[in-house]
Amino acid sequence: MLSLTLLSIPLIAAILLLFSRGNLSRNLALVFTLVQLVFTVYAYTVFKNEGSAAFEFLANWSVKPVLNIHFAMDGMSLVMLMLTNLLLPLIVLSGYNREMERPHVFYSLMLFMQFALNGVFISFDGFIYYIFWELALIPIYFIAFNWGGENRAKVTLKFFIYTLAGSLLMLFAFLFLYNGSPAHSLDWSSLTNNPACSCNQTWLFWLFFIAFAIKIPIIPFHTWQPDTYATAPTQGTMLLSGIMLKMGTYSLLRWLIPVVPAGVAEWQYVAITLSVIGIVYASVIAIMQKDLKRLLAYSSIAHVGLISAGIFTLNLSGFQGSMVQMFAHGLNVVGLFYCADIILNRTKHHEIEGLGGIRLIAPKFATWFMIVILGSVALPLTNGFVGEFMLLFSVYQYNTWLAVFAGLTIILGAVYMLRMYQKMVLGTAIKENMVFPDLYWNEKIVLVTIGILIFVMGIFPRPIMELTEPVLKNLIK
């Protein structure tokens, strides 16, 4: 029942919000996301960690074609749910003190998105999982399109078609599996018990891999991402980079590796190589970027490149590191985009050059921005460090040379992040008479929460590891 509750709260909220107006809708959205967070925390406290899935809900949807509904949660789902439902209130909160057209539709779409994301993370049947995966795309398309910036029609359509193309490949893979399994069952447990039926695993691997690679994004399927991040409204970018991208990495662990094991073993090296190329490529491009949001977009590609490389090493430290890093990256990237939004909001200046001295006028903002950046460049004692260390270790176990290149992410990451910080925040003000009010109350809450979590997770990452360990150990067998 708990799974259904987690699904129904945001859905009901999304419908209710359509009938509210203005500030009320914002407050309602905040309340509902907080309620959702409370329920998630409750799920975490009652969850018994034995490696099997809990809170099961099974129902038949249709007899022919055989469609089943199967919701459940294991440690991995729970981590993702925590991330999603923790970030959502923060993202809603970040919209206070900002002007916006038709906020009720905006927040309704956002909660609908939360509904779909929750669904993706608790679905244990391929068909229902696919439906939620697609559902998540519709609200974010409209958010990015309706409230987006320059050139939005073109950019968002590209984004939509690109990701939908990936999804359709995945649909084809599921159809394959459906057809190949004797009982026509797409249930996760039956798929993992007799992996990939008698189908051609190379086909299956590529169909799934391309779908997830587009979402993550792994080079060379990333071209939609920087434009979309730059164009979407900040809250939309937070959703995209903080949570939606994790759908891809999560799905690698949930579906690709257990369902197509032979295909993964065969093509592992290609996937890792692509990921590592992505890390270096995106880092180098990030250094060259002039636009702040685009820099963050490319840094995000670099970070998730490391996550997917770690996953494809197929060892425990890679898996665990990826879970920790998914959570950490979700927090950090939301913090980063929020800081970028604060700068943009105050100065209407989106380039890195030509600004400076923010520290002098807004010291609190400068401090918290620094903390988020430290988390992002993986300084020890911050959350980024734990994950990246484990991931690099796993890549090192797989291949030393790849690990050397993957390790560049830390160095290059520090280069572009700190240089950006130095140019924008430190030094003396280049713009004269810059008005830069320090953090508003809502901004303070968001950044302080993220900042504290960055340190807490950095010092004490054990809960996430403990939650995911039994599931991931099963995966290795």
Binding site: W61, S62, V63, K64, P65, L67, R102, V105, F127, Y130, I131, E134, L135, L137, I138, F142, F145, N146, R152, A153, L157, F160, I161, L164, A165, L168, L169, L171, F172, L175, F176, Y178, N179
Partner: protein
């Protein structure tokens, strides 16, 4: 069905709607009855009852739209409504036939009425062109059909569907070449009627030229009727001779998918866009015809329903918008989101439904078709169909982008209860059947 005797003009449409509702109920009453009438010319089984129900329902919605559509043309409304009713009669015959002559009669009743309706905007040159073009091409197809039926009769000695099937079973080794020739002619004629490539050339011009309401009728009811008749033919009569015709159908399905989707990309006229989208949907439905051997009527019914609901919803928004903007281009929708946000949202839902994205019924319909096609080992055809639905998104979203992304034009859309009613019914049902598909999917 002799409702045209009504003289009081204002009452015609309400009376027809009531009559249709009555027939809808009577029709459902025949569920599970399996009777045949007129020396086995007409056979009523669950297949025909289900499709008749769908056809009557679609006609009902179209007639509700018609009340407002013909406000300016009250003089001819009785003619229009009578002819539209004849189209329904033809369609019903095409669902219930048990005899090839009955099939021919049904197709002709439907087509002749449709030729007239396509040309019913007498002073519009495009409408005249549509009517004439449809008539010429349609007559050709009818000729093919008739000749094919004659040849089949020559080979098997019967018009009766089950007797023809018996003939193919008994003479499995030496089926006469006459029979195959006849079968191919009939199949080609049916391909024309369902507007599958390479027999699709009439569709864009006719859809474009006809009055919008007739286009809506054509793209829903007529298409469903043609496909149901085609399906019945393939699944009951040509069952044993299927291997011979399967490659032709597969190639036709692939070309249809390619042509429909690729040509739709470049369209700027909304009706032409829907014509090509209709062709591409014909391509998906062709996959069902390909798998007709496995009794896939459930998939056909569900997909037809989903397609009809989305298309009707699109027209329920489009017709008043066209009227206001005096243009039928996609640009007529520019900025609709600012003027009528609810209508824009509804049209977006219709477009997303047509593109086959969950949670709308269109998605499940596609999913069902793909599973059936894969089960019958049409691997590459399914792959192409999946690529086709990728392309589809682009042109359906052109409409959404026009509504949300473009500056608004001045044209003010008049609100009407009837249009909104149809729109609401279609969207709600489309979501409902998408979420609770059970009863419809397993109807047979």
């Amino acid at each position: 069905m002799v409702l045209e005797i009504f003289n009081v003009r204002k009452l015609i449409v309400p009376a027809l709607v009531l009559g249709l509702a009555l027939i809808f109920g009577l029709n459902l009453n025949d569920w599970n009855s399996n009777q045949s009438f007129f020396n086995n010319m007409v056979r009523i089984d669950n297949f025909s009852v289900a499709f008749s129900g769908l056809a009557i329902f679609v006609t009902l919605l179209i007639f509700i739209l018609a009340t407002d559509y013909y406000t300016d043309d009250q003089n001819h409304i009785s003619d229009y409504m009578a002819i539209l009713t004849f189209i329904l009669v033809g369609a019903l015959m095409m669902f219930n036939y048990a005899n090839l002559t009955m099939l021919f009669l049904g197709i002709e009743t439907l087509s002749i009425a449709l030729y007239v309706m396509a040309g019913s905007k007498r002073f519009d040159i495009r409408s005249n062109e549509a009517g004439f073009k449809y008539f010429l091409m349609g007559s050709f197809a009818s000729g093919f059909l008739l000749f094919g039926i004659a040849l089949i009769y020559g080979a098997s000695g019967s018009f009766d569907l089950s007797k023809i099937a018996d003939y193919t079973i008994q003479h499995q080794q030496n089926i006469s070449p006459l029979f195959y020739t006849g079968m191919f002619l009939v199949v080609f004629a049916m391909l024309f009627k369902v507007s599958a490539a390479p027999f699709h050339f009439w569709a864009p011009d006719v859809y474009h030229g006809s009055p919008a309401l007739v286009t809506a009728y054509m793209s829903t009811l007529v298409k469903i009727a043609a496909f149901a008749a085609f399906y019945k033919l393939m699944s009951t009569t040509f069952f044993y001779a299927f291997e011979k015709v399967a490659p032709v159908l597969a190639i036709s399905a692939i070309i249809t998918l390619a042509v429909g989707n690729l040509m739709a990309l470049a369209q700027t006229n909304f009706k032409r866009l829907l014509a090509y989208s209709g062709i591409s949907h014909a391509g998906y439905l062709m996959l069902i015809i390909l798998t007709a051997k496995n009794q896939t009527a459930g998939a056909l019914f569900y997909y037809s329903l989903a397609y009809a609901l989305s298309t009707l919803a699109a027209f329920a928004v489009a017709i008043p918008v066209f009227k206001a903007a005096k243009s039928e281009d996609i640009s007529a929708f520019n900025g609709l989101a600012k003027k009528n946000p609810i209508h824009a949202a509804a049209l977006s839902m219709a477009m997303i439904g047509l593109a086959g994205i969950p949670p709308f019924a269109g998605f499940l319909g596609k999913y069902y078709i793909f599973t059936e096609a894969l089960q019958s080992d049409y691997f590459y055809t399914t792959l192409i169909a999946i690529f086709a639905s990728m392309i589809g998104v682009y042109y359906y979203f052109k409409v959404i982008i026009a509504m949300y992304g473009q500056p608004a034009n001045e044209a003010k859309m008049e609100q009407s209860f009837n249009y909104n009613l149809v729109l609401g019914v279609c969207i709600v049902l489309s979501i409902l059947f998408g979420i609770l598909p059970g009863p419809i999917l397993n109807i047979f």
